[in-house]
Amino acid sequence: MKRLAFYAFLIFFTLAAPFLLPDYKTQLATLWLMIIVAIAWDMTGGQMGYNSLGNIFFYGTGMYVAALIAIAIPFDVGEYTNAFSDKIYKFTDTEYFLGAFVGILGAGVFCAISALVIGYITFGLRGPYFAIGTLGVAIAAGELVSNWEWAGGGQGISLPVFPYDLELGKIMFYYMFAGTGVVLFLFARWLYKTRFGAAINAIRDDEEKAEAMGIHTLRYKLTAWSMSAFFVGVAGGISAFQLIHFEPLETAYQTINLGIFMVVCVLLGGKGTLWGPVIGAILFHLFKEVTWNYLLGWQWVALGVLIVVTVVYFKDGITGWLKLVRPEWFGIRVEAKSQRSPAS
């Protein structure tokens, strides 16, 4: 009963948030973005034990794929991205919404497929090599895209603004992010209870033994990573339309910003748990925004310190700590008094 009330409150708050806090619509949308990428990272990092530092690759690729598809439907991409102010490209409403819909879905699908390709190559790497290898993929992609003139080069791509009232646009983007986040959360919740979830947990615990038990590890790893990549790609696609303008190194393939933040969110909340990434993302986003506002110039140092402190001193995250203090919340039964007093 209590649980039902809790979920009802969450659903109500999710739906009503942009109206309750009208000044923070974009902030709340960004919060949902953090939650999406954190849960998606945890799918491979926490549940499967493959700590990727390059998941930002799917975010950036999703942005580019969504934008390029949306542009390619009505116009010629090479001309559009390299046009100067002398020629104005106007999207009609249908072109905008059709482009956004097809582009965002296409971004997810493209990222899922590219995860299969990259994963086929990089899943031969383990542990830190996998982390560095995927980081390399993300940095290389950013550098290559920023030299790719057809896709806008270093200047990036500008997309049209939302065709109606801008406040309405903010609400729409909030619901797009929130919808994707809720779908991803429910999907992960279901997935971790299935045989598939058990299999990827087995891979995390001991890959050799899992293989010996007859689990086709490569197939499971590829599937898990491409599912995670699909959602990150969709989030990237939505971001492309929300941000209107983006450029390759600082916005799309932002390796040291979002690319590392998603990992820190998960570690802060607790690796390999369902709620950990969500809690971590919320706390991290709050911390980030507060430091951004009050520590002019030093916010990056504060974030670096937060990363180091989280990793070094707080390794199980908040969920791990809660599990220690309140085990009954997680369904772990503890014998109330294991030591009987001698008098009785």
């Binding site: 383990r126 542990g127 982390a131 590392i260 670096g304 180091v308």
Partner: protein, 303 residues
């Protein structure tokens, strides 16, 4: 595409250009090998993969640059950077690294990534985000009708890197602490049983690594440019070199360092200077791929 083809045909038409690129690459590669040696040291002894390696290099460069700006002779910046970075390395070891040694490798990787962000941002706040270098007023030597130009400053840099590397290697072979470091790398528990204070060895190793990187950075600022955010590329180069050479393979590290320097110069020549970072990273992926294939043959994974 045409640009790339014409660049390649230029290389074929004038073989002397190849020589120039290789010489340039080797002079830079000597410095890459230096910081990669430090990484291999920390990796082999403490099993910590230091992603802040490149930021140590850049920090050392800024120390030398700041001293040179205040009237100290640039060549003195190298020992100064060595000493200051030794202290900083010791502080970082005491605060962070000593708590991640026993933990899994991803923890150390992330913790040092956090450190890398902190160092780069502090440098950015203090020195600004412009690229900096020290111009040494030494003449330039010309060979082969002026096709090959070798600035004496660069030669001096290579010479200092060689002296430093030779000093560290001799110390590791002969010095009492060097022997203790090698013993700890072989088997930390056995070393502890035999009365070696491994905590001291670890802190010494990490400080030495930071100092080597700092000195390398002080040379980099004389022969090349530095910028607060160039650290990550240096770190990646170090990883490429160590992954290609393997741990504890000193000739391999030197050969890989020089080779990476030369390959990067070739990449910059063929694809244009905008691709220099991309070439460094693509080399990493290439090396990892080759290593994975090698490991697959013996049915093992790279870990």
């Amino acid at each position: 595409m045409d640009q790339i083809l014409s660049n390649i045909s230029l290389l074929l038409e004038f073989p002397i250009v190849n020589l120039k690129i290789v010489i340039d690459g080797i002079m830079i590669g000597a410095l890459f090998a230096l910081s990669a040696y430090g990484l291999a040291l920390v990796w082999g002894v403490m099993n910590v993969k230091n992603l802040a390696q490149g930021d140590f290099v850049i920090a050392g460069g800024y120390i030398a640059w700041w001293l040179a700006k205040n009237g100290v002779h640039p060549l003195l910046g190298v020992p100064a950077a060595f000493i200051v970075m030794w202290g900083i390395g010791w502080g970082i070891y005491r605060l962070v690294i000593c708590r991640v040694i026993e933990r899994d490798l991803f923890t150390s990787l992330l913790a040092t990534f956090g450190l890398a962000i902190i160092i780069a941002q502090i440098l950015n706040l203090i020195f600004g985000s412009d690229t900096q270098s020290i111009a040494l007023d030494y003449p330039t030597l010309y060979f082969a009708d002026g096709f090959i130009d070798v600035p004496i400053a660069k030669l001096l840099g290579v010479l200092m890197a060689t002296v430093l590397a030779a000093g560290v290697i001799t110390f590791m072979k002969v010095g009492r602490m060097g022997q203790a470091i090698r013993a700890t790398a072989q088997d930390a528990r056995a070393a502890r049983v035999l009365g070696i204070n491994t905590d001291k060895v670890y802190s010494f190793t990490f400080s030495l690594n930071a100092a080597i990187c700092g000195a390398a950075g002080a040379i980099v600022v004389m022969v090349w440019v530095i910028q607060p955010f160039y650290g990550i590329t240096h770190s990646i180069r170090s990883f490429v070199i160590v992954t290609a050479a393997g741990l504890g393979n000193l000739p391999g590290v030197i050969a890989a360092g020089l080779g990476i320097g030369a390959l990067e110069q070739y990449g910059a020549h063929i694809f244009g200077i905008g691709y220099q970072q991309a070439v460094a990273v693509l080399l990493l992926l290439l090396v990892l791929l080759i290593r994975v294939q090698q490991q697959k043959r013996v049915r093992k994974s790279l870990q």
